[in-house]
């Protein structure tokens, strides 16, 4: 074998080369149609090419990641900041829209009650005590607010009364507070009574309708409005509805359980009635 290669090696080499060249020419000579040899080569080459290509792409991506990391980080930060700004604007928009809605409602109320001089204020903080129901508002005596001023929502629903006053803040005790009492009319018959705070009911965000007039008939579902008796509250403000009618321990005196017309946990903005016409 060795002798054969030594003697005819060059010849064999030339012949193999010639065959390869011929195959090569043969494969090109069919108007773009690959020949069998070329095809076989391609079949073998394809997966290798794929693997190499994938590896190169992977290396490229790593290189790109390393190379562009800083710029991507900066871009990410910038986009985050833009997103935060956009979210802030959206939030402000929602808050402004809510405030706008409240002020529109208030406009309706003002048209109905032209005698009201109102001051708008935000609820700042609820008192963290178990013994009263009160919150702080962001305006005080410097805005013309006085002790005892009634506080309402934009719908004309009674919230409570100013019980403490600073120059730029005030404390509002809500209707369900133990120390609150408001003259009221109950139901269509306008039975007069008093809405008074009761500790046990306060814990359930309710109040008591008591001191009802003799022979007054009250029913579950009756609407309770301010009577305007005294000079603390204007007449006709919505207080809430009766959810239950009970009798005192002696069984003689009837009283109602009142559910306020507002959910105190939803309060954001309130309106203080600084002046109103007292109807005798």
């Amino acid at each position: 074998m060795k002798d054969f290669i030594r003697k005819n090696g060059i010849k064999v080499g030339v012949i193999v080369l010639a065959v390869i060249v011929l195959i090569g020419f043969g494969s090109v000579a069919r108007n773009g149609q690959v020949g069998a040899g070329h095809n076989a080569l391609g079949i073998v080459k394809a997966p290798i090419q794929k693997a190499v290509s994938s590896a190169v792409n992977w290396l490229n991506s790593i290189y790109g990641y390393l190379y562009n990391y800083d710029s991507l980080l900066a871009e990410n930060e910038s986009l985050r900041s833009q997103l935060a700004d956009a979210q802030e604007s959206a939030r402000e928009g929602i808050a402004a829209s809510e405030e706008n809605r409240r002020l529109r409602e208030l406009l309706n109320l003002r048209e109905k009650h032209r005698d009201y001089v109102l001051e708008s204020s935000k609820v700042v903080l609820w008192s963290s005590t178990n013994w009263s129901s009160a919150f702080t508002i962001s305006k005080g005596s410097s805005s013309g607010i006085e002790l005892g001023d009634p506080v309402i929502t934009e719908y004309g629903v009674l919230v409570g009364q100013v019980t403490e006053l600073g120059s730029s803040w005030a404390t509002v005790s809500t209707l369900i507070d133990v120390n609150m009492s408001v003259g009221a009319f109950v139901g269509h018959q306008e039975a007069s009574g008093m809405v008074v705070g009761d500790y046990a009911l306060m814990k359930n965000k309710n109040a008591k309708v008591s001191y009802l007039a003799d022979n007054a008939q009250i029913y579950v579902g009756d609407e309770v409005l301010t009577s305007g008796s005294g000079t603390s509250f204007p007449a006709g403000l919505v207080i809430g509805t009766l959810t239950n009618v009970q009798t005192e321990a002696g069984g003689q005196i009837e009283f109602g359980i009142l559910k306020p017309a507002i959910d105190y946990s939803d309060l954001v903005q309130v309106f203080i009635i600084k002046e109103f016409d007292v109807v005798e």
Partner: protein, 169 residues
């Protein structure tokens, strides 16, 4: 000259520390705890602060500091005028007295005192409601629940003055 002698560096450090301690306690009570309710009930942190003041500063200075705490607490709550200005110094004075003769300043003694003080504070608060409102068991339920949910927070009030006292000695 006398004033300068009186306000030594150590005393000034104490004043600053306790002013900060009480300020943080008031802020936590008013701002943090007003947003954290367990069901219908709020925790009440400040009686434990009065106990800590009496325990670590003694009857006199403890009750003086508790008087300031009581003043700000009364200003904070609309339903009270001078209640905490009496209650907190009395608490600090009593605890200071007990520490002088009967109790040590251990954590257990503090927690025991805080527990009793929270119950007493709750009962005084409830008494005010019972005086203006009809009798209701809800008052006593509130006293018990308020005490129980305030005790874990009382733990936090013990360590700052304890560590401060250690750092001085």
């Amino acid at each position: 000259m006398k004033l300068r002698e009186y306000f030594t560096r150590e005393r000034l450090r104490k004043i600053i520390f306790y002013a900060l301690y009480m300020f943080i306690a008031l802020v936590v009570q008013e701002i943090v705890l007003s947003g954290l309710r367990l069901g219908k009930y709020y925790a009440f942190l400040l009686p434990s602060v009065a106990v800590a003041l009496g325990m670590f500063e003694g009857s006199f200075w403890g009750s003086m500091l508790a008087l300031v705490l009581g003043l700000f607490t009364d200003l904070m709550y609309p339903e009270t005028v001078i209640m905490y200005m009496i209650l907190f110094p009395a608490t600090a004075f009593t605890v200071g007295f007990l520490v002088r003769f009967f109790l040590n300043r251990s954590f257990l003694a503090y927690m025991g005192s805080a527990f009793i003080c929270l119950i007493v504070t709750g009962l005084v608060q409830g008494l005010k409601v019972l005086m203006t409102d009809s009798f209701t068991i809800e008052v006593f339920v509130t006293v018990v629940v308020q005490t129980l949910i305030s005790l874990p927070l009382a733990v936090l009030c013990y360590f700052p003055p304890m560590r401060f006292r250690e750092s001085l000695s």
